[in-house]
């Protein structure tokens, strides 16, 4: 009886050790996508972070929205595996994706598209108080900033690169003029999982900077859709499928159609920005960005 009990206990212990952690054990923000692939979904449309386990260590896609998120991600990684974070791939250089580099590197090697380091430095110079103000937002944030230093990418690629870690392959595609100065889509071909960066966001209006063009966004969406992903993890928003691209394409097509019609009627950009309504998208967040979307559509229809 005692032997049987011991054997049962041993088996239970083994099962406990070997059983994969359920995503709910990792906190409410973690969503399991596939075996060994998780996403820390940013709260309130904050930036997402991908966690990909391999036999040779962990690969992160982005580093969390801010240092408290980064530390939560690091804690989740520690629950998942004793292996180190070997690589951290940035989908863009903006601070809501990159401030947390210092939590993971060293030892992680940080990879981004060409221009990412310069973009990070320029932003830091333009707003040198950003991190101090953020650290003052709460005692938790102040603690999370401990040891902060700006860590720039170690590797910057142009156009395309491939990363092999253990049994997994990550294909990185540079996407021009879609959101920041250096945007990367990260594609896992065997797993058919795509980290689609912030070119396309979910149920919110995207922010348009002067370098961003709607035709380039649509071209990037076409390229990513052609990869035929099963799962699409955007830079911000709930992970989904290629429906994310379809929704976005429909939105931009309608926006371009309406802006084009008003421009042909001789209306100025200011008039269009004042008059144009898109009631179909009333449910989308970040409405304050709509005027920027109209401006980008106006540029596109003018062929600029």
């Amino acid at each position: 009886m005692k032997i049987k009990f011991s054997a049962a206990l041993f088996a239970a212990v083994l099962w406990f050790i070997a059983a994969p952690l359920a995503a709910q054990d990792l906190g409410p923000q973690i969503k399991k996508i596939k075996d060994g692939i998780y996403v820390y979904v940013g709260k309130n449309l904050n930036s997402n972070c991908g966690i990909v386990l391999t036999q040779e260590g962990v690969v992160l896609i982005d580093s969390g929205h801010n240092p408290t998120d980064s530390r939560a991600i690091r804690d989740a990684v520690k629950k998942l595996t004793p292996m180190p974070v070997r690589f951290l791939i940035d989908t863009e250089p903006h601070p809501d994706h990159t401030t947390g580099h210092f939590i993971f590197s060293p030892p992680a090697t940080i990879i981004a598209a060409a221009g990412a380091g310069e973009s990070m430095k320029a932003r830091d110079k333009a707003d040198p108080d950003r991190n101090r103000k953020l650290a003052e937002s709460s005692p938790e944030m102040r603690a999370a900033f401990e040891g902060y230093g700006m860590v720039l990418p170690h590797v910057e690629y142009r156009d395309k690169m491939t990363l092999h870690v253990g049994e997994r392959t990550f294909e990185l595609y540079y996407m021009k003029n879609v959101h920041s100065e250096a945007d990367s889509a990260v594609w896992l071909p065997r797993e058919r999982v795509l980290f689609s960066a912030s070119a396309i966001v979910v149920e919110q209006f995207n922010i348009f900077r002067p370098n961003v063009n709607i035709p380039d966004i649509l071209a990037a969406a076409k390229m990513m859709k052609a990869l035929n992903p099963e799962f699409v993890i955007p830079g911000h928003g709930i992970p989904g499928t290629t429906k994310i691209f379809d929704d976005s394409e429909r939105y931009y097509a309608l926006l371009l159609e309406r802006v084009g019609k008003m421009a042909r009627e001789g209306k100025s950009l200011d008039q269009i920005q004042k008059e144009l309504k898109m009631p179909e998208y009333d449910g989308w967040a970040t409405k304050e960005r709509f005027a920027g979307n109209v401006e980008a559509a106006y540029r596109a229809v003018q062929g600029k």
């Binding site: 030892p107 060409a114 170690h154 590797v155 142009r158 156009d159 690169m161 092999h164």
Partner: protein
Amino acid sequence: MRFKLFTACTALSCVLFAVGCSTGKPTASASLPTQDFGPGFHKVKDGIYTFAPDQTTTTCSMVVTNEGVVMIDSCNNSVDSKKMLAAVKKVTDKPVRFLVDTEVHNDHTWNHFVFSPPAVVVNAQGAAEGMKKGLDPKRAETLAKQSPETAEIVKNYKFIPPHIEYNNRMTIQLGERTFELIYLKNVHSEADTVIWLPKERVLFAGSAANVRTMINLRPHVRFPDVLAGYKVMRALNPEIVVPGHGQPTTAKIFDEYEGFYTLLMKRVGEMAAQGKSLEQIKKELKMPEYADWAGQDRLGANIDVAYSSLKGK
């Protein structure tokens, strides 16, 4: 008197401490004289060393930064790799963070396992496939018979293809140094990379040009691409050029090889225009101007490439 002595000793200690603190191990010892590493090592610049024992053996190099070491190629054989690793440990206590291959062939890549992990191995797209194609599954067994020292090292052999394969260009930023990686097409192997350190003006030029040696040219190599590669490298205006084989030199090697390949193509072209077959050309063609170059047995392969290049194949 005792107080003065104490004060002097304290001051001296402070100076020594300050020197130690301000330089730290990586910087202080990064300028070690190369005789401390053993024969075959050359100091290129502060913190940049190559192991190049002669004119033809595969060169491997280390570049020390304040965040770790970048290796260029993994050395001709496992004993050389261990020598290089020992030299690295004399220079710095930081790890080898990156290992960049200038080509895919075994004499540059077979010893990845000595450095990785922890090194992240990098080469251009197609390198892993190229390495697999050239892999001899019995190589470790064969090499182990060479010496007990080799046998001891290769018992840990593991095939390690590159972790990173880039397209066209890539930059590594490690500590205070920048490494620009440039892909050169059809110049030697299936994936050739040159590594340029712009601040230091040091170029690791791979095996498109070596030191007065006829290169073992594979059938896919094309002289127009090779000459274009020299143009790219020369335009960087390097002060020091470290070839894939042989000791550190200057951009004059590009001129020498350009002269050789241009003359070779001219002569092959003239003979082909006379209606001579490739076999006839290989039998008859002489290059007495280059009789003192090493690797004369490779002239036939060089003629093959000249012939294909001229035919536009």
